[in-house]
């Protein structure tokens, strides 16, 4: 009995000793490793430092209300998960909220319960109305914009940006209809993405499209690091989710409704991966067969977080400071002079009395001002009090002298 207790104590002691040695040897980590550990804590290894979102609604007119609601719902979700307005390009025809046929003016709802107004408080539409064209979209992606294009309408992504491209509207086999007047083909988008890759305008790109026969739109991509998903396969329509009897039109599409509902369950710190998201696809409830194309995407989907594309979670690049060539030019003489002044003032104060902090700091400031005045040759000089009274006295003497004369 006693011997087993004794052996248990020995085992415990050995175990604690082992633990202690491992912890002390682990103290010698480099700062880089510590920072990498800290930032890598949520286990995403994508290596991006900023997020961009390009949300395109390619339809106009009142009866395409649901496409507007799709894009606005995605806008709200992306903003909620942390992408700032400065990194979101929203392209909408923007003719639903203030449409004369809208019984709820200034509002766009995505469900018949009308519980959430997607057009409510702060919506920044970058391209509206007739600005939503194929040319503008392709110029936006490739960066070939005219010099007078304002910054808020440019895609200013760099090689460490994860870009989320969402498109919705009416589409078909390898095409998407823009504003009822023109169309963009899958080849155009694929070439645009290739230009982005060559210009190092994305780190990873997630392409989501909700139209009829949507999966055909991503079949032509050939650039690396692109992950694509669509709402319906070839020869299949995408359907709307529900109508609203008061608004009179459909308010949201099935696939986008599913995506938005899924996103409502995650927040900025979520560890949900894209594999989980794609696994949740239910063709029965969505009423079409969504597809995924991940052959160009180099990371495993189970390691890729949803917030890599939908959120604004940032990583940091660590570089060795000794290799940087930022050189601060300091006027040494000036700096030393000021330092000497301040040191003198501080020493004078600490030597005179140990007053409370406020008064002493003010006195330090005042004596510093005095010394600065002396050093910059601004001081009125010595005997200030005497000279002051001397000038007043001389004035009085003059008055007395003049009054005594006639």
């Amino acid at each position: 009995m006693l011997s087993s207790l004794f052996s248990r104590c020995w085992a415990l002691l050995l175990l604690s000793l082992a633990l202690w040695t491992t912890s002390t040897t682990a103290e010698g980590e480099t700062p880089e490793k510590q920072a990498a550990d800290f930032f890598g804590r949520h286990e995403s290894t994508s290596g991006h430092t900023n997020n961009w979102a390009v949300l395109v609604c390619a339809s106009r007119y009142w009866f395409n209300y649901r496409h507007m609601a799709n894009a606005l719902g995605m806008y709200r979700t992306v903003k909620r998960l942390g992408v700032p307005d400065s990194h979101i390009i929203l392209m909408l025809a923007d003719d639903a909220a203030c449409n004369p046929r809208n019984p709820f003016p200034g509002s766009v709802f995505a469900s018949s319960s009308r519980s959430l107004d997607l057009y409510g408080s702060h919506v920044e539409v970058d391209y509206r109305g007739t600005d939503v064209t194929v040319e503008n979209f392709l110029r936006l992606l490739t960066g070939r914009v005219s010099p007078d294009m304002p910054r808020s309408k440019r895609l200013l992504s760099d090689d460490k940006s994860n870009v989320f491209v969402y498109m919705t509207g009416h589409g078909g086999n390898e095409f998407l209809k823009f504003q009822d007047s023109e169309e963009i083909s899958a080849f155009d988008i694929a070439d645009a993405f290739e230009q982005m890759w060559q210009k190092r305008r994305y780190n990873e790109l997630f392409f989501m499209i909700d139209t009829c026969q949507a999966n055909t739109m991503y079949t032509k991509f050939y650039s690396p690091n692109i992950l694509a998903t669509g709402s319906s396969q070839i020869e299949e329509n995408s359907y709307s989710y529900e109508n609203d009897a008061d608004i009179g039109v459909s308010v949201i599409d099935s696939y986008t409704h599913f995506v938005l509902e899924y996103m409502e369950r995650i927040n900025k710190t979520s560890q949900t991966s894209l594999q989980d998201f794609f696994n949740a696809y239910n063709p029965h409830t969505i009423r079409s067969h969504p597809g995924v194309r991940s052959d160009l995407f180099q990371r495993p989907l189970s390691d890729t977080l949803l917030t890599d594309f939908f959120g604004g979670v940032a990583h940091a690049e660590i570089f060795d400071s000794s290799s940087s060539n930022i050189d601060f030019e300091l006027d040494e003489e000036f700096a030393s002079k000021w330092q000497a002044v301040y040191d003198d003032a501080c020493n004078a104060e600490t030597s005179s009395d140990g007053g409370d902090a406020e008064n002493s700091s003010e006195r330090v400031a005042q004596s510093s001002i005095r010394k600065i005045g002396e050093k910059l040759d601004l001081s009125p000089g010595k005997w200030k009090e005497a000279r002051k009274w001397a000038s007043v006295a001389s004035l009085g003497a003059l008055i007395a002298w003049a009054a005594s004369r006639w």
């Binding site: 005045g373 601004l378 200030k384 002051k388 000038s391 001389s394 004035l395 003059l398 009054a403 006639w406």
Partner: protein, 404 residues
Amino acid sequence: MASQYVFPAAVAARIFLCFTSLPEYLKYDQQLSTPLTSHLRLQEGIFLYKHDIDPYAGGTLRHSPLFLSLFTTLLPTSRLPCSVLWTLCDFAAAYSLVRIWRARQRVSSSSRDSLIASLYLLNPYLALPSLALSTATFDNLSVLLALMFASEGRTSLALLVTATATQLSIPSALIVLPVMLLLLTDPVSHLAVPRIFPVKLSRAIPLATEYLAYSVALMLACTTLVGSWRWIPETWGASIMLPDLTPNPGLWWYFFTEMFDHFRSFFLMVFSIHLVIYIMPVCIKFQHDPLYAAFILLGVLGTFKAYLSLADPGLFLSMFAIFPEVHPYLRHPIVTALLHLHAAPLLPLFHHLWLSEGTGNANFYYASTLVLGLANGAGLLDAVWAGLRTAIGDVEPKYEVVQE
């Protein structure tokens, strides 16, 4: 009679006003104080001086060192005592105006005394700058004291106070010659009977020497305070070189905002000489009445001074009260009065519209300064005409007076 209540009411009103909180708002007004007279700059200068930094090094302080010495030793700097002090200075200035009147009329008291004092105290052009704690009150006081002592024949005091007036504000040097002429003659009105100057001019030389001696003594007192001669270009030099182009009701600032540097010195010289050239002709034309000459030259100052505030035309307008003999001969007093009534609200309105609202521009304010210049010029010309017309007296109906 109700008129006997005017003067007590004026005194009561001024005392009441100095205890309100008006100075807090008025001291920022650009019409009432200029960079040379602003109370804010004086306080800044006093602060810098108390903290051993040369107040003239930064270009904020343009007041005379006499103000610095007085306000750091004897006089108060906090708001309420300052308001009381300024009101007392206005009372003293009104009293000296009454003494000038009495000297001119050769009486020891008259029924018009209270009216003249009320006209000085209730003149808004003088009351508002005084409430704004502008040091133009001291400038006006020193000018009126100089004229008072000169009218009463107290040579040394008159010359000392004139030297003080010049020290505080160099454009006041325009009244030096009239003061000397006044000391040599008398303040009594000779407008109706002009005569050649009765005294030999060489008797003015000892007066000029005494004046210069007092000026040098005051300059030395100022230099003692400051410790260097730096104050001269900062205070006196400001009226000549116009370094500060803060908008004021005067006629210089707009002209010099758009002046090319190449021509700046030329036009500064022109504008400064423009002030000086009035001295000799006015003193020659009004050699029979030097007090009236001083009055005209104060009108010139009130129109063409470098840093004009409303206190300068205010002194000119209040001094109309001591020359009742010219009132019947004023040709357009109503026009002058209406122009002043027009200019006075227009100035702060356009200033606000330009600088606060942003819906106007500098041309609006410049136009209002032109209206004030027109008002001042109309008053000045009318005073000159009336002063000369008095000499001709009543004219038979079939004759008229023309100017050759």
